[in-house]
Amino acid sequence: MQQILAITWQNLKSIPARAGTSLVAVVGVAGVVVVLVAVLSMARGFEATMASGTSADNVVVLRSGSSSELDSGFSGDQSRLITQSPYLDLASAEVYVIVDLPKLSTGTDANVPMRGVGADASEIRTQFRIIEGRMFEPGRREIIAGAGATGQFAGLQLGHTLQFGTEQWELVGIFESGGAADSELWADASVLQGAYRRGNSHSVIYARLGNIDDFQAFSDELTTNPQLSVRVERESDYFAEQSKALTTFISVVGYGIAVLMALGALFGALNTMYTAVSERAREIATLRAIGFQPLAIVVSVMTEAMLLASTGGVIGAGLAWLLFNGFTVSTLSFTSFTQVVFAFVVTPDLMLQGIVIAMLIGLIGGLAPALRAARAPMVAGLRA
């Protein structure tokens, strides 16, 4: 142990003399970690946005076979049957349409979800609150906009009038809901039905169970009713499923990019450590001649590689946190085909994951040079 500590300490002290090559390894690894943590924090942020604001006793009812609110639909009679279920405390039959608004960042049109809601809608969304202006008045062409949407799309200022198709709407309030609804525009359901010629049909029902344990009974009641063809899901399950496709895609792309970059960083680390070993060939050979064991040499080189890589990892994770945590963007949800506004979430576990990957790069990048250092012919090394 004493041998290992002595050689390792000596290695580390000599790093400033090899600052250039050491820096290449640190920067390379930091780059990998920044990209990996950033991309994963994007997936994490999307997932968190979709999951937040949901409540365990809330349910979502969609037409059977539909994949999202966009292709779901009920007639007025069916909506009434569902919302009048004795298992429900609150229910909101809602209309879901897509409107075009230019993105603030690019100026290009984006699909923004517009939701016509019932009277109970704001109570069902437990975190809903108006943060500016007021709630729309039922029966009037008024809308309120989610706080996330106002930061991403043009024209969503309080008091502005927005034109969708032939209809004009006045924006009277801004709300927060803590979830995906933050990306939406809300209006009165009956007004939206009229404006979009939906008759008395609805897209989806959001509801609050009277008793959280009644989920199965409520589901059975609806699915066994021959007048209905529905699927019933807990709100949290529905949003988890909605986010799954995109988060999986982002994660796969993120890991893919990270693996490619990691290969680059690995070669950087290999180069750095081969250079370090080569520059110190005589010192290493001398230590071995004096009687230091090959294992001590291997451990010392590996420690240096791991330390450089970990430093890169910590810097990368820190940079990712500084640059991306809370960074808000909008992206197209794969299931609803509308923009979802969300913030990157750089969590401690993602940062740790980045640092672990950095250490793996160090471990793999240091192993071959370490073995070379320990196995190189001593006699040649002494005269290097």
């Binding site: 002595a6 001398t286 230590l287 001649a289 004096i290 009687g291």
Partner: protein
């Protein structure tokens, strides 16, 4: 020789140079007595350093035996050889081979890290070794702050600090001017005569060899004549 510390018997060593196989040592025999100061001379490529490396356990012969102080070191594995070198041999190199980031005293302490002893005892022994070579006042200096001769003295202190049976010096004055070289050689003579160290020194410098009590000439991997 009745009290040999080194007994080399019939050793053969080949090297590969590309596809060519070069035989460096051809069935060589050599005895070195305990307490001898032996200079190994010969032209470049005669196998002097190869022989020194065999005796120091840095290299192994293809055939033949190397017995040092009763141990057949040609039969030890790499791990055993490393431990054996730590316990029995002190090396002095032409270019000193000091660790550039360590002070003189820490360089001297290095072999003692392989022994079980306290940090204070280690420091005390390293300082004693530096005193023997006359560099106690430079203990805290880094190698780059020392002259060539001083660096070689530190290297000699490192070689003797663990009180080895045998000192092996490979061209120890090859990188020094004549006056400094003489000082180093006098130091080796002192270590040989006063401390009783057995020294085997490779050199191609006849003036350096004259400081030894015995000179062995090597030519093309053989010892034609012992002077």
């Amino acid at each position: 020789m009745s009290d040999s510390i080194v007994k080399v018997s019939n050793i053969v060593k080949h090297y590969h140079r590309g596809r060519e196989v070069v035989e460096v040592l051809h069935g060589l025999n050599l005895d070195i007595g305990r307490g001898e100061f032996c200079a190994l001379m010969g032209p470049s490529g005669s196998g002097k350093t190869t022989l020194l490396n065999m005796i120091g356990g840095l290299d192994v012969p293809d055939t033949g035996a190397v017995d040092v102080n009763g141990v057949r070191i040609d039969q030890l594995n790499a791990r055993q050889l490393a431990r054996w070198r730590a316990d029995h041999v002190g090396f002095i190199f032409q270019f000193y081979n000091l660790m550039p980031v360590l002070s003189a005293v820490r360089n001297v302490e290095l072999p003692l890290l392989l022994k079980k002893m306290s940090a204070s005892e280690r420091r005390q022994r390293a300082m004693t070794a530096l005193e023997i070579v006359g560099l106690a006042d430079r203990a805290k200096h880094l190698p780059r702050e020392l002259s060539g001769g001083q660096e070689q003295r530190v290297a000699i202190a490192r070689a003797i600090v663990s009180d080895p049976d045998l000192l092996l010096a490979d061209e120890p004055t090859g990188d020094l001017d004549r006056d400094t070289a003489n000082e180093i050689l006098e130091l080796l003579v002192t270590l040989n005569q006063r401390q009783g160290k057995t020294i085997l020194m490779v050199t191609h410098d006849p003036v350096a060899a004259e400081h030894a009590s015995r000179i062995v000439h090597l030519d093309k991997g053989r010892i034609p004549e012992v002077a």
